[in-house]
């Protein structure tokens, strides 16, 4: 029995065949039902093949090797930068900086944006720890004040005190586009405009948005945006910082080392302009190349189509989860207002036990605090279970999740 829903990717079965891992079976011969894509996405064959081909045929260090392989490797690495620039609609390729991951990109900003006593940084209560801790550290170092937007009972940002929070002393407003725990989609254009109005810079954490939504940095009006490669069907070890070119070139260097300089003497150095200014040392070359292939893959399907698929699956999942007795969803209940990560509680069963029983049925979800402890504390819970879909998720997999949750209830002998 296969369910069809409006908005599902029409070639879903073909897309699934692009992801070899989806064909594997687990213990007891059970098929894999992978619902942990907000944690990390699976990788299509084209990404795997591109990385293998690079290592087999084009491997060399970049930007310094005076030989054919060096030229090919440099072209592949810089080509990936072009693909990222196109993916986020960046006005210039120089605005795309490769980092290790989104966390490193956020740390780069928190380390280099100048702050001092009297300044403040505004974040939100629904951030991933990676968009909280770097700013806490920056404020501790500089004497700046850390402020945050609260979250309403229905899982949206509480903007009622926005005028008081973001004021003339605000230097940075940093916020997630899509919450990794609540799924909430935030008004990033409004928040960016609010930052700009007081002369602050805006920083968007697009780690959960870039996999699922069309990203257009120009349209958001933001100053900086970060995301990670491994959630956008790319490899681990590669992330992206996009920033307005004038702002990037005004920031001091982050890491010092090779490739980030203009010239070095024993007394002092001068620094390259962005992007190389922020890419000290040999970068993750094959990872960047893999990310380029991944973004090509997503662009080929079309991010509007990926988004429509996610919304269809999310709506179907919210309906299915609502049939499970004792289950409550954290965050917005309207699929149109949220992303594909759905955190929930099952009364009487701890999330780790939910995940363990689901795993015995082949259903992979995440359990815990999802690196969002303050967001959990806001709702008075210590941890939750989270399912997260992606472009390869089928309605049948959601049915398998719901069936496995029913089994979990019976296993723990709940009414």
């Amino acid at each position: 029995m296969s369910v069809t829903l409006p908005g599902l990717l029409p070639e879903l079965e073909v897309i699934r065949k692009d992801f070899p891992i989806l064909e594997r079976t687990l213990a007891d011969g059970r098929p894999l039902v992978y619902l942990d894509s907000a944690n990390t996405s699976q990788k299509p064959q084209v990404v795997i093949d591109t990385m293998v081909d690079h290592l087999e045929r084009h491997n060399a260090n970049i930007a310094r090797a005076m030989h054919q392989l060096g030229a090919e490797a440099t072209e592949a690495y810089e080509g990936a930068r072009d693909k990222v620039a196109a993916f986020v609609n960046a006005p210039s390729r120089n605005e795309v900086i490769f980092t290790k991951n989104a966390t490193e990109a956020l740390n780069l900003l928190a380390r280099t944006i100048e702050l001092g006593p009297g300044d403040n940084v505004v974040i939100t209560e629904m951030e991933h720890h990676s968009n909280i801790v770097p700013w806490q550290l920056a404020c501790e170092r500089s004497g700046a004040e850390l402020r945050w937007f609260g979250v309403t009972d229905d899982g949206h940002l509480d903007l009622s005190n926005a005028d008081a929070l973001v004021d003339e002393h605000t230097k940075v407003v940093a916020f997630t586009w899509v919450s990794n725990m609540l799924g909430t989609v935030n008004p990033v254009g409004d928040l960016s405009a609010r930052a700009r109005a007081v002369g602050a810079v805006s920083v968007i954490d697009a780690s959960q948005a870039a996999p699922q939504l069309p990203v257009d940095v120009a349209a958001t009006g933001c100053d900086f945006l970060v995301f990670t490669g491994h959630k956008t069907v790319g490899p681990t070890g590669i992330g992206v910082l996009w920033g307005r070119e004038d702002l990037l070139n005004a920031l001091p260097p982050f890491h010092g080392g090779g490739e980030m300089i203009e010239t070095v003497t024993m007394q002092r150095s001068t620094y390259a302009r962005a992007p190389h200014r922020f890419e000290a040392g040999t970068p993750p070359i094959v990872e960047a190349v893999g990310l380029g292939a991944a973004l090509d893959y997503l662009a080929h399907i079309g991010m509007d189509a990926v988004h429509a698929h996610e919304q269809a699956i999310t709506a179907y999942a919210l309906e299915g989860l609502a049939t499970v007795p004792g289950l409550s969803v954290l965050g917005p209940l309207d699929a149109a207002q949220r992303g594909g990560a759905i955190s929930f509680e099952l009364e009487g069963v701890h999330p780790h036990d939910v995940a363990q029983v689901l795993d015995s049925r082949g259903v992979a979800i995440r359990a815990g605090h999802h690196c969002a402890k303050p967001a959990h504390a806001r709702f008075g819970v210590q941890s939750s279970s989270r399912m997260s879909s992606y472009l390869y998720t089928t309605p049948a997999e959601i049915d398998a999740l719901v069936e496995a949750l029913e089994y979990t209830r019976s296993y723990f002998k709940l009414g």
Binding site: A27, D28, V349, H350, P351, H352, D353, Q356, V357, D359, S360, A367, G368, H369, K373, H376, Q382, S383, Y411, F412
Partner: protein, 148 residues
């Protein structure tokens, strides 16, 4: 994976009806331990006198394995001389770190043998050990307090 080897009836019984739960007086040391990967936490107090574990009281949040482990641990150590309780702790630790190869001694571990299956689930070993580590920490502090 054999779910029933993990979730023994004994574990589920202790989870539903934990022994010695709640924070009590008197105590010489109180500790708060968390499992940072999953967020499970326990606040635990130890009361020692005349070299004997007089009471272990706790407040804990977490999964069935961590909650049941706390309950079983209090059964095993309350009323025991501290050095004997430490030996039981060592035995339980060896069982948990044995990757399923250690045969538990029911004479020593009593209901604790139900956790033998947990050792085969590496992600859950820390759940079973959380309250034991808290107990060891609190006991060490209690001893230091009484000697200091």
């Amino acid at each position: 994976m054999d779910l029933d080897s993990l979730y023994q009836e004994i574990i589920l019984d202790h989870y539903k009806n934990p022994h010695h739960k709640g924070l009590r007086e008197p105590f010489e040391a109180e500790v708060h331990h968390v499992n940072p990967t999953c967020g499970d936490e326990v606040t635990l107090r130890v009361h020692l006198s005349e070299g004997v574990v007089q009471d272990v009281s706790y407040d804990a949040l977490g999964c069935s394995i961590s909650q049941a482990a706390a309950s079983v641990m209090t059964d095993l150590v309350i009323g025991k001389p501290v050095d004997e309780a430490m030996r039981i702790h060592g035995e339980f630790l060896a069982l948990m770190q044995g990757k399923g190869t250690v045969e538990p001694d029911e004479e020593v571990l009593e209901d604790g043998i139900a956790f033998a299956g947990v050792a085969k689930f590496p992600a859950r070993v820390k759940c079973a050990l959380l309250s034991w580590m808290a107990w060891k920490d609190a006991t060490t502090r209690s001893l230091e307090a009484s000697h200091g």
